[in-house]
Symmetry: C2
Subunit: 207 residues, 2 copies
């Protein structure tokens, strides 16, 4: 399997190579790909061996070939359907963001608990009441749950998604979810990200 | 200095202990703190040595004492002032989020380029035009820049913030920023987070 840091870099290279394709650039060296990704060239070459791509010395890599190989290994053509629970500030920003379709994500159902939001139409979807989560999700092709509800509601929402057969959770609430084995959780704790940055900033600030 | 994984966990413990204080819980064991944080008890004890806290065997830690020690070591009482550039979907969600004040962050200036947004009032702030970034930020106590503009504009915005004296950047745009030594950048690449989750999901899915 591909180690996590390499995997994250491969997704980064994919986005850079897409921009090259749009700019009609056909060949790229590991030095240039490295410069655009903020990674050194030797690391780029090592990462690309995971998708069995070797550049030609002096010429580099074919952009088109790299994209095909990355799409296959990273499964980017695969569609992943997701339910988003909690259509508040963050949920709305995530739902409306076109960038996730690059990676094959489609949000196909929205849920909330607030009577003022339930029944509203957002884009092509209607916001369902959370009580219908298991009924709607278990009858769908949804494999992923995006949790953008307040911290106190997150565990109950996770339980509902798991009961409906979802095996992957993308959690933005600042709590540690307890899930059975076989369920994959990715926590995005934005506040901790910020706190770590300002901590480093204070330590490096001029005394 | 504190290693990054321990540092991120200390912020997580801080949030859990705050909830304990609100619930009038005065003592907590490393087992219980570990269970709430999703970390094993031995790791909790090891992390807490960074803030020179040792529990009493059989009794545990005083919640109040841990909070005081964490606030001091993590510098949580320190105010960090930030400028947010790009008051769109994500920028608005981040600006309105009350959770960041726990970690001493205050967003004190907003910037955008869209004439329809410039001059609008959001909460207590007026949205300034990006052309006034250096003038306003260099005359302020702002140390941190939050970048929520589209990818094509992010490098120019980073340059402006650095020119204005900012030394820390929290970047949400999916590009690798090039910055001079001494400037700290934290990238939050949400799309890569999602892509990695759906990759693991596909690999573990039933064949
Ligand atoms: N806004 C940010 O920038 C930000 C940053 C970091 C973390 N977060 C975290 O993301 C989560 C969402 O934050 P937000 O700012 O969007 O909050 P918000 O209050 O704007 O939105 C929360 C939404 O969840 C809904 N909800 C509440 N309980 C529910 C339940 N049981 N079932 C279904 N829906 C429910 C609410 O009706 C609301 O629409 C929170 O856990 C927050 O801590 C947000
Ligand atoms: N919305 C999400 O959930 C999400 C998820 C992942 C990544 N991102 C990234 O975050 C960034 C913001 O995304 P969004 O969804 O909020 O986009 P958006 O288009 O809703 O907002 C972008 C804002 O930036 C402003 N802007 C553009 N150029 C500018 C410049 N030169 N100076 C100042 N302001 C400028 C625009 O006027 C707009 O208000 C993007 O880089 C995006 O790729 C967003």
């Amino acid at each position: 399997t591909i180690p996590k840091p390499s995997l994250e870099r491969l997704f980064l290279y994919y986005r850079i190579l897409e921009a090259c394709r749009e700019g009609r650039k056909e060949v790229i060296s590991s030095e240039e790909l490295g410069r655009r990704a903020g990674v050194d060239a030797a690391q780029v070459r090592k990462d690309l061996t995971y998708i069995s791509q070797c550049g030609r010395p002096g010429i580099g890599y074919q952009v088109g070939e790299l994209l095909v190989a990355l799409e296959a290994v990273l499964g980017l053509k695969r569609q992943t359907h997701a339910a988003l629970v909690g259509v508040g500030r963050l949920g709305t920003a995530i739902h409306n963001y076109p960038g996730f379709t690059h990676f094959g994500l489609r949000i196909t159902a929205l849920f909330d608990i607030d009577p003022a939001r339930v029944g509203q139409r957002v884009g092509e979807h209607e916001i369902y009441h959370i009580d219908r989560l298991v009924e709607i999700v278990s009858a769908s092709t949804i494999q992923l749950g995006i949790i953008t509800v307040p911290a106190h509601a997150a565990q109950a929402v996770a339980n509902g998604l798991i009961a409906a057969g979802v095996r992957g959770l993308w959690n933005f609430a600042p709590v540690t979810l307890r899930v059975p084995p076989g369920v994959i959780v990715r926590n995005e704790d934005l506040a901790v990200g910020l706190a770590t940055l300002s901590w480093h900033l204070a330590r490096s600030a001029k005394p």
